[in-house]
């Protein structure tokens, strides 16, 4: 039995690197420090849903095949295509992405990563407006105001709040954890007393407390770190917060612009904006201006709702305005553990962060035209390679229809909906568990992913599988050139 310390968790963009794993007989038996998703990954990755042999579609059914046959078939599919899509990449290592980009250039395809359906609009907006950002370490030690907008870290980045923001013990800012515990205890006692009174004196059945609270906005009077959540639902993150504003769906833009007006000392001549009374907004605007160092984290609540990149424009501009009054930074909450790495590697190799089209022989970038969902909706692609992703489960059905109509190659450690519809499927080793690599945290800090245990016999890494496909594609193309001449 051995313990491996300082393991980087390959699940979400927080990339926690303090995980401790206990290994017995080359198996992970215990996870320390991780969240629910981390534990599920490290303990469950080797479940019955894993497949260990390459699969190929014959007579409409997926059947086991050899690695060399699968490689050949995959290479043929890609080499013969006029306009193949190479999609996924955010859940693999930067090293594998490097090979993927080479392959995309070789076959003249479009290479896109999952940011196209998550923070793609953020990237477009950052290219327009710019982004004042920082590392998560700075936030942990210095931020005294933390805002999550359209983001629910409790569910999507479970340790974000206690590792990097409000509940972390920083050098200059203390954790707000104890205050939160006191608040929860007090509220539980209050609920119990109220429910007892109702049952004993009014003979009412036990029921949930009334949902809408009337009365003036609760001022944030507390000292120290403050946590504000702005979202369409009262998520668990919102319950933790010192202040929560519930914004109706698709109204974020109005609210952001109202904040901009308030920060610039302009008066708002209406009683409420996006259904939120102006005095609530004034209170938050005050807190924003008075903080020493604030940070706004935004999630897909902004990028997927009406306005999309324009919402991000407004958020970035709000932070620009705030920097005239105090110090403020902003950061997108990146989902997949290496989606930031995908943007970074794509950019240093091609000049563009996602949706890169090699069909003219040089890289071209025009999201809306060269982004994978648009290509699928226009029915232009004629084959696809999916690496470490599950677009059948994550794209709108209309886009998936065209994806599964054409030859489809999938490289993934687990069987998923996309693999079930594929023509060639390669099992791969888990990056960060069975093979090493590099990943970028959401604040663009690169971290090493460790190899903890050996992969099953015959199962290769994404990088190795891609290298073999690339070499096979080059052979086919060379043969064709010789035949043509």
């Amino acid at each position: 039995m051995s313990v491996v310390k300082a393991v980087t968790c390959p699940v979400c963009g927080s990339l926690c690197d303090d995980i401790e794993l206990t290994i017995e007989d080359d198996k992970i038996v215990k996870v320390k420090n991780g969240c629910a998703m981390c534990e599920s990954k490290f303990l469950g990755y080797n479940s019955e849903h894993r497949f260990l042999k390459p699969l190929i579609r014959k007579n409409g059914k997926l059947v086991k095949t050899s690695l060399s046959e699968a490689t050949k078939r995959a290479a043929e599919i890609l080499a013969e295509a006029n306009y193949p899509i190479l999609y996924g990449w955010s859940s693999t290592s930067c090293e594998a992405m490097g090979v993927g980009l080479e392959l995309a250039e070789e076959v003249g395809g479009v290479i896109d990563n999952t940011s196209t359906v998550c923070h793609g609009p953020s990237i477009l907006s950052i290219q327009d407006v710019g982004i004042p950002s920082c590392t998560l370490g700075q936030i942990r030690h210095r931020a005294d105001l933390v805002i999550y907008w359209g983001s629910n870290p409790w569910s999507a980045h479970p340790r974000h709040i206690d590792r990097y923001t409000a509940f972390s013990e920083g050098r200059f800012e203390k954790s707000a954890w104890k205050g939160y515990l006191t608040k929860i205890k007090a509220s539980n006692v209050k609920k119990k007393i109220e429910s007892a009174i109702r049952r004993v004196f009014f003979k009412q059945k036990p029921s949930a407390p009334p949902l809408l609270r009337a009365g003036p906005p609760p001022a944030i009077l507390k000292e120290g770190r403050k946590l504000v959540v702005i979202d369409v639902r009262r998520t668990r993150s919102a319950e933790i917060a010192d202040y929560f504003i519930q914004v109706p769906p698709n109204k974020d833009y109005e609210l952001l612009q109202a904040f901009r007006a308030l920060i610039r000392d302009q008066e708002i001549e209406v009683d409420e904006v996006a259904g939120v009374p102006v005095e609530y907004l004034e209170e938050i605007a005050d807190v924003m201006i008075k903080c020493n160092f604030g940070i706004l984290f935004f999630g897909l609540g902004l990028t997927m709702s009406m306005g999309k990149l324009r919402n991000i424009d407004a958020a970035l501009s709000l932070i620009r305005d705030l920097n005239m009054r105090t110090k403020f930074a902003i950061m997108p909450m990146r989902g997949h553990f290496n989606v930031t790495g995908a943007n970074t590697v794509f950019t240093w190799q091609t000049g563009f962060p996602y949706a890169v089209d090699f069909s003219l022989g040089y890289p071209r970038y025009n999201p809306g035209e060269t982004s994978v969902v648009d290509i699928l909706l226009r029915k232009e692609s004629d084959s696809a390679l999916i690496v470490a992703s599950d677009p059948v489960a994550n794209f709108p059905s209309k886009a998936v229809e065209h994806l599964v109509k054409n030859p489809l190659v999938v490289i993934d450690p687990h069987m998923n909906a996309t693999a079930q519809m594929a023509d060639v499927v390669f099992p791969s080793a888990f990056v960060g568990i069975e093979t090493s690599g590099t990943a970028y945290r959401m604040d663009h800090v690169p971290l090493p992913l460790k190899k903890i245990v050996a992969p099953p016999r015959g199962v290769l890494s994404d990088q190795e599988i891609l290298k073999r496909i690339l070499s096979e594609v080059r052979k086919i193309r060379k043969r064709k050139q010789v035949e043509a001449s």
Binding site: V11, C12, A36, M37, S40, K41, G44, Y45, S47, E48, H49, R50, V117, G120, P121, L124, W154, S155, A156, P158, L211, L212, V232, R233, R234, R236, P249, N250, L300, G301, T303, M304, S305, M306, K308, A355, P367, G368, S371, V372, V373, D374, L377, V392, A393, N394, F395, P396, S397, K398, A399, V400, E401, V404, H414, M415, N416, A417, Q420, M421
Partner: protein
């Protein structure tokens, strides 16, 4: 008064159950169960006259899918329903990218109606129904 159907706004998004399920395996029961549900405000369930765990049919102009209604603990969000990201949500989300590559996954106008007699499809059945391929 009990309504036959409700006009609602559909949100899709992440839940911790979906996050845990996807790491366990996309074919795992945990994952399938976590993404074939629709979180509704308790008041909306009352307005439809149904109990929790009844099948409901969610329809938008892009498609229609049967999911299991679950009482939302994240209320109040009257008139707003929430389906976690996954194959079921995809049937009804708006593919429109507004020229920037990003489909509209949140804030879609939808109709929800009780469908106690309609079956909740398995992943295989759903994929077969949607794309005619297994």
């Amino acid at each position: 008064m009990i309504a036959n159907k409700l006009q609602v706004t559909l949100l899709t998004g992440r839940t911790i159950e979906q996050g845990v399920g996807k790491e366990r395996g996309k074919a795992s029961e945990e994952y399938i169960e976590s993404v074939s549900v629709c979180y509704m405000d308790p008041e909306d369930l009352k307005r439809l006259g149904i109990k929790e765990k009844t099948n409901v049919q969610v329809s938008t102009e892009h498609g229609s899918v049967v999911v299991k209604a679950v009482k939302s603990l994240r209320g109040p969000h009257l008139g707003v329903i929430f389906i976690p990201y996954g194959p079921w949500a995809n049937v009804v989300v708006n593919p429109e990218t507004h020229g920037i590559g990003m489909p509209s996954f949140k804030g879609i106008s939808a109709e929800v109606e009780p469908a106690p007699d309609k079956p909740l499809l398995s992943l295989e059945e759903l994929l077969k129904e949607q794309f005619g391929k297994e």
